[in-house]
């Protein structure tokens, strides 16, 4: 099969999913009314509630939901073969992904811009909000562990990458200075900093520079150099968390956006120009355990290990790109408060989700046709390295040399991860101040709060087994999605609308992710070996996190289902449902 055919297939899924299924739900069940005042117009304060054009909001929504998840998930999941991964991306988005994103916006809009925390308090139970916040904290911690390990251990430790990343950060700071202090034109700022960033990435490929970073890595030894680069990553996150947003996070994100955007654009064009067929050496299906080294001869020293049974692990390995709980938080807290007309919700929420599906398919192709064989995939490390190398192959077909494309792909991924990570640390800091600030006032200090978040992240990065952290991260993400679907179902039931189109996805996602978390928790506890202290700590943390997430999810689900029964009974009895 030709790779272009996959893109066509994705296009057909978008046409049917968005054009037929989503539009029919939108028209028949939600029935948006453009004359109804949205919270953005009703409460316009120029701060939280501000109406925005639907195209602008579409771009905002897409950028907010698409991070490292839709890229790394498919790359890891192709260990089952490309067919299961592709099917889950297409079907997951078709039946579940857009449902959650779109409905979260609609619920937010119809409920006066309330966040999911407030909605869970009102619709599920008073304790639901507290549990949801514990849940979110664990989820954020796992994001730091999963992303931090990729950046510190896989990407920054490559000698051609650190200089590019450091220069992009410095140019981001320059962009902030030019925009906010020197009041320079944004086009001039963009040209100077983005061109500078590309030069910086190119400088990183020079042999002298690579020798310098190789020397550092050799001097520190393995795993010393990986720990060193993960510490550097955490230091970057520290600055991102404590400095004003305009000074650090925002301008760096701005420069990083162009690097990422141009990379994706170049990758798509390169793939279309190349239009390769699926390689015979990369089978559609490997085995039920995702054990790539059982399906091919892995290079010496490469230990990828089995992922676990296809159900449930595949469905949590690919989270973003099929369905992700993060989207519900962004949709309800951010987008719903900016929606100008109800009729824009499908285009913004559903459209951005289908576009993210397209990104996930592109990532899958980077792994399959980019690598060309299972053996090559294994040699590239089976994670982030596969994408950077695959992207380099795509870019080589539009004349970008692979010697530049590889570090470019790695810097691209590093920036994608970092832009999320320092916001996560910021968020963890706020969360710890909220949880413990009254009892331990020192935690309210931004430096103390950030350091606590970074130390917790560091422990997970240094001791955790990455595949398990990724599955836990995916599991917590999917559980968040299933809880969002529960809130949506409850809201639909309270309004007397058909709720099966969100309730069935909730049941599927809930059972699948609970199974995945339970399995991962069990495997983590089983792997505890006190002869290896570091590994034992990592496994215990992973196991405890899995147990905490499962308990929280069960309490929320029980309360939620009770609330659904309560609401539907009220409705059958003829009492007004809703509040």
């Amino acid at each position: 099969m030709n790779a272009i055919l996959t893109l066509v297939l994705a296009g057909v899924a978008i046409g049917l999913g968005y054009g037929v299924y989503a539009k029919s739900i939108d028209r028949k069940i939600i029935q948006p009314d453009n004359s109804r005042t949205t919270p953005a117009r009703m409460y316009m304060d120029g701060v939280d509630f501000t109406p925005a054009n639907r195209n602008v909001l579409f771009g905002y929504q897409f950028k907010s939901i698409a991070a490292l998840g839709p890229i790394v998930g498919p790359i890891v999941a192709v260990r089952y073969g490309w067919l299961p991964a592709l099917l889950w991306i297409l079907l997951g988005t078709f039946f579940i992904g857009w449902v959650q994103d779109y409905s979260s916006i609609i619920v937010g809009v119809r409920e006066e811009g309330q966040t999911f925390g407030a909605l869970s308090y009102r619709l599920i139970s008073p304790r639901a909000r507290g549990i949801l916040l514990v849940f979110i904290y664990c989820y954020l911690w796992l994001i730091m562990g999963a992303f931090g390990k990729i950046v510190g251990y896989d990407l920054m430790s490559k000698p051609s990458v650190p200089l590019g990343v450091i220069l992009v950060i410095l140019l981001g700071l320059l962009a902030g200075q030019m925009t906010y202090k020197w009041k320079q034109d944004i086009i001039l700022t963009t040209v100077v900093t983005v061109v500078g960033a590309f030069i910086g990435i190119w400088l990183g490929t020079l042999q002298g520079v690579q020798n310098l970073f190789s020397g550092i890595n050799t001097a520190l030894g393995d795993p010393g150099y990986k720990i060193f680069w993960s510490v550097v990553t955490l230091v970057i996150c520290y600055f991102g968390a404590v400095l004003p947003i305009w000074r650090w996070a925002q301008p760096i994100n701005y420069v990083a956006f162009w690097i990422v955007f141009l990379g994706i654009l170049g990758g798509v064009i390169g793939l279309i120009v190349w239009h390769p067929s699926y390689p015979a050496e990369f089978p559609a299906f490997t085995n039920w355990d995702g054990d790539i080294c059982a399906a091919t001869t892995c290079p010496e020293g490469v230990t990828l290990g089995a992922l676990g049974p296809l159900w449930p692990i595949l469905f949590v390995t690919i989270a973003c790109g099929a369905i992700s709980g993060w989207h519900s938080l962004v949709s309800s807290s951010g987008t719903a408060r900016q929606l100008e007309r109800e009729g824009d919700a499908l285009f913004v929420g559903g459209g951005a989700m289908f576009l993210e599906m397209f990104l996930a398919v592109l990532s899958l192709l980077a792994a399959v046709v980019g690598a060309g064989s299972l053996a090559q995939y294994a040699e590239w490390g089976g994670k982030a390295g596969v994408f950077s190398n695959g992207l380099a192959v795509f870019l080589s077909h539009i004349g970008v040399p692979e010697s530049f494309g590889r570090p470019y792909g790695a810097v691209f991924l590093t920036l994608m991860a970092l832009t999320i990570m320092y916001l996560v640390v910021r968020f963890m800091r706020v969360a710890s101040a909220e949880f413990l600030g009254d009892r331990i006032p020192v935690i309210r200090n931004i430096h103390v709060g950030s350091l606590i978040a970074l130390i917790l992240s560091g422990i997970l990065i240094w001791t955790g087994f990455w595949t398990r952290i990724w599955v836990l991260f995916g599991g917590s993400n999917q559980l968040m999605a299933s809880l969002a679907l529960l809130i949506i179902t409850l809201w639909l039931a309270s309004k007397g609308k058909n709720y099966w189109w969100s309730f069935i996805p909730f049941i599927f996602m809930f059972l699948t992710t609970i199974a995945a978390l339970a399995r991962t928790g069990y495997k983590s506890f089983e792997a505890v070996d006190f002869a290896d202290v570091s590994g034992a700590i990592g496994n215990i943390i992973a196991g405890v996190l899995a147990v905490v997430l499962i308990i929280c999810a069960f309490i929320l689900a029980v309360d939620g289902i009770r609330a659904i029964i309560r609401v539907t009974r009220k409705e059958e009895a003829g009492a007004p449902a809703g509040k």
Binding site: V47, L57, F62, G117, A118, Q250, G334
Partner: protein, 92 residues
């Protein structure tokens, strides 16, 4: 006529692409600038008009002198100050 229509369509398409790109690259920055300004203004109203929320901060004489300048924002300010918030608000 048809040429003008197709030019109009092309222009509208380009405008849409421009808006999407702005949404991805710059909308967050613009929102943050607005938020910063809004927060500063609301802080100012709090220290001058705190009485309205039961927080007596400035002698009423000065509040009355400033009142005409603050009136247009009082309703949004009160709503923002008194709105229920939680951790998920930090994401917005």
């Amino acid at each position: 006529m048809a040429e003008r229509a197709s030019k109009g369509k092309l222009r509208s398409l380009l405008d849409s692409v421009k808006s999407v790109l702005y949404g991805m690259a710059g909308h967050d920055m613009a929102r943050f600038a607005l938020k910063t300004r809004g927060s500063m203004e609301h802080l100012f109203i709090l220290i001058t008009m705190g009485d309205l929320l039961g927080i007596p901060i400035l002698p009423p004489y000065y509040s009355l002198r400033l009142l005409p300048y603050v009136v247009p924002q009082i309703s949004t300010w009160k709503r923002r100050m008194l709105r229920e918030r939680d951790l998920t608000d930090a994401l917005a």
